[in-house]
């Protein structure tokens, strides 16, 4: 049975209009996520992962930001042109987001309980008592100890790991269809990272919720995701299911990322890392964005923009001229 598309993003383009001109932070991004599926979005810092997720939520700070093109479809409904009122109905209710910064994402002046019940009281017809019960239930679900007492605590009394769990519980309050988790574990230490990833996997199974897991770490992808989209400089450069990407990566950037995963079996101390830095969005006007760092780059790469080419396996795409069978190579 083919599962329903919960969220489809097609040709999304989000730019920031700054004093130095337009910064195309997200430049033609496509992805989709189906019911009960975990999609990973991977890429180095600054490639546009957070801007992509904020675009979906309708939370791009504007000015200076603006969605300048493409479609965001939630169960087929266009969100790019949806009214603010409609977006407010969806946010926190059907689509929820966990943010990258657990230390600053909770309001320091309100109790955990107040902040947890808020989404529920906003969207559902429940009274305070029912809302608190639900909050306790969700806190237990995400593995927070002594949930009842925590309700009356303030954020500064909690550790980073606990705050991130609170953020997850908060996102789950209204049982959303889609959960966007923007690097939920980056700011946390390794053991807590492991626990939270395990939790996400369990929640996905238990609640059949579609999750978009944003990360710069392919290790996280291997651990929890079903499919993966690799982003580079505002563009999708490769897309496939998780097994395929680890077995048969096609894009030179993906290969570089894979080579730079720490491997415990590896006796070598020095880790491989892709030479050079992510270019500032908009700084490369012509050709493949990865060309300046690509060891396979050839003339055409500096002249033309590659499109997403299909790879032999089904549902595997990569944005690299090496896959263009008709075109000349080298």
């Amino acid at each position: 049975m083919l599962k329903e598309y919960e969220l489809q993003v097609k040709g999304l383009r989000t730019s920031f209009f700054t004093d130095d001109g337009e910064v195309p932070a997200v430049d033609d991004v496509d992805f989709y996520v189906r019911e009960g599926e975990i999609l990973g979005i991977v890429g180095e810092s600054g490639c546009g992962k957070s801007v992509t997720s904020l675009s979906v939520m309708g939370l791009i700070p504007k000015p200076p930001g603006k969605i300048v093109g493409g479609e965001i479809l939630f169960k087929g409904e266009d969100l790019v042109h949806a009214s603010e009122k409609r977006m407010r109905k969806l946010r926190g209710n059907d689509i929820a987001m966990i943010f990258q910064e657990p230390m600053t994402s909770l309001n320091p002046l309100f109790t955990i309980g107040d902040q947890l019940v808020e989404a529920l009281l906003t969207h559902k017809k429940v009274n305070k008592k029912q809302a608190r019960q639900k909050a306790v239930e969700k806190m237990k679900l995400v593995g927070l100890p002594r949930a009842e007492e925590l309700l009356d605590d303030y954020p500064h009394q909690l550790s980073g790991g606990m705050r991130q769990r609170v953020m997850i519980a908060m996102a789950l309050m209204c049982d959303p269809k889609v959960l966007i988790a923007d690097e939920p574990t980056t700011a946390l230490d390794v053991t807590i990272q492991k626990q939270i990833l395990k939790l996400m996997r369990e929640l996905n199974k238990k609640l059949n919720m579609a999750i978009i897991m944003i990360t710069h770490d392919l290790g996280v992808v291997a651990e929890v995701c079903d499919r993966v989209t690799v982003m580079y400089s505002g563009k999708v450069v490769e897309e496939s299911d998780v097994k395929t990407i680890f077995k048969n990566p096609q894009h030179p950037y993906t290969k570089g990322l894979l080579a730079s995963i720490p491997d415990i079996r590896d006796k070598v101390d020095t880790l491989y890392s892709i030479p050079g830095n992510v270019p500032k969005p908009g700084s490369i006007k012509r050709g493949c964005r990865f060309a300046p760092r690509c060891q396979f780059a050839f003339d055409r790469c500096f002249e033309e923009d590659p499109e997403l080419y299909e790879v032999s396996e089904p549902n595997h795409l990569a944005r690299c001229f090496l896959l263009d069978e008709e075109g000349e190579q080298q």
């Binding site: 939370l59 320091p108 906003t122 303030y154």
Partner: protein
């Protein structure tokens, strides 16, 4: 919380001690013999000796100081040289006249200033924002006495809508209970008088409110702009919370802390330094009272007046500090 309050109150003692020493020493900072200066050149030696004895100037310094503080603690603020009356009894109605004016002025300033600042931040870089900022700039730069005179000219002289001076219509004296006339008339059911008192307080309080209002609007705006960029505001919006609630609940509570500091400072300034406005509007307040005492070289009145103003400042500060702890749960714990 209780520990915080106790600690904060204990911190008052050294401050109050320092203040009392300073105020007490005023009399010694006057060049020459204070009694002579108070009485003028042609005073007889007997009269001077009399005043010296009355002021306790014939005693050693520390005894004088302890007497002084002892008197203060029993509510004795000394005796006026000019009227021979007890300073405490004379000062009290003046103080409350100023308190009433300040409360009304600060209420106007806070209500309009805070809301203007919020709207300005909410509608950042729009016409509304620019309008508020221009008004705030004009507000802080306008001399209060000039504004007061213009108000009187327009609303009292030209339009005859409002009275221009004093606290009440002279024909109907308010029977003072608290000396806050708005309250006194209300609790006595004198509604016509209440209306009269209210009409009298409008022009001076608006004049006094202008500068604090402008300053509060600016601080609120910049503080709100900072807060509205923060991650937790984004979190609130991600929950689908309405814009109005995001602004007035989540943002304002965080933005209000620097605003409270400014409100405390401005209220203190109005309580102590509204001499010009009180003069223009014939308001029998504390500023006028101290000013008259300075003119008359009535040192006991000057001393006590300054002490009262300084004490009010200190207590407003205390209140602001305690309010911080009410607003921000993090304060209690460190």
């Amino acid at each position: 919380m209780t520990a915080y309050i106790i600690r904060r109150i204990l911190m008052l003692f050294p401050v109050l001690f320092g203040m009392s020493v300073l105020v007490f020493s005023i009399i010694y900072l006057i060049p020459g013999n204070p009694a002579q200066i108070m009485l003028g050149q042609r005073a007889t030696p007997e009269a001077i000796a009399e005043v010296e004895k009355q002021l306790g100037l014939d005693q050693p310094f520390y005894i004088q100081y302890f007497d002084y503080v002892g008197n203060l603690l029993t509510g004795d603020l000394g005796t006026s040289i000019k009227t021979k009356g007890a300073v405490a009894a004379e000062l009290f109605p003046h103080l409350l006249a100023t308190v009433e004016l300040t409360i009304v002025a600060m209420t106007i300033a806070i209500f309009i200033g805070v809301n203007a600042g919020i709207i300005s931040a909410w509608l950042h870089n729009t016409i509304a924002d620019y309008a508020v900022m221009v008004f705030a700039l004009v507000g802080v730069s306008m001399p209060v006495f000039w504004l007061g005179l213009m108000e009187q000219y327009i609303f009292a002289v030209e339009l005859s809508w409002l009275p221009s001076t004093s606290r009440t219509n002279a024909l109907t004296d308010v029977n003072p209970i608290t000396h806050l006339y708005l309250i006194d008339t209300l609790i006595q059911g004198e509604y016509a008088q209440f209306k009269d008192v209210l009409r009298h307080i409008i022009l001076p309080s608006v004049a006094l409110a202008t500068i604090p209002m402008a300053i509060i609007a600016r601080i609120t705006r910049s503080s709100m702009l900072d807060v509205m960029k923060s991650d937790y505001i984004r979190t609130a919006r991600a929950k689908g919370v309405k814009g109005f609630i995001v602004v007035y609940k989540h943002s304002l509570r965080n933005a209000v802390i620097p605003v409270m500091t400014v409100i405390g400072l401005q209220a203190g300034l109005l309580l102590g330094g509204a001499i010009l406005t009180e003069t223009i509007f014939g308001w029998p307040g504390l500023g006028r009272y101290i000013y008259d005492a300075i003119q008359a070289r009535d040192y006991p009145v000057i001393q006590s007046g300054i002490l009262v103003v300084a004490t009010i400042f200190v207590f407003i500060n205390l209140i602001v500090d305690l309010l911080y702890a009410v607003v921000d749960p993090r304060i209690k714990y460190n």
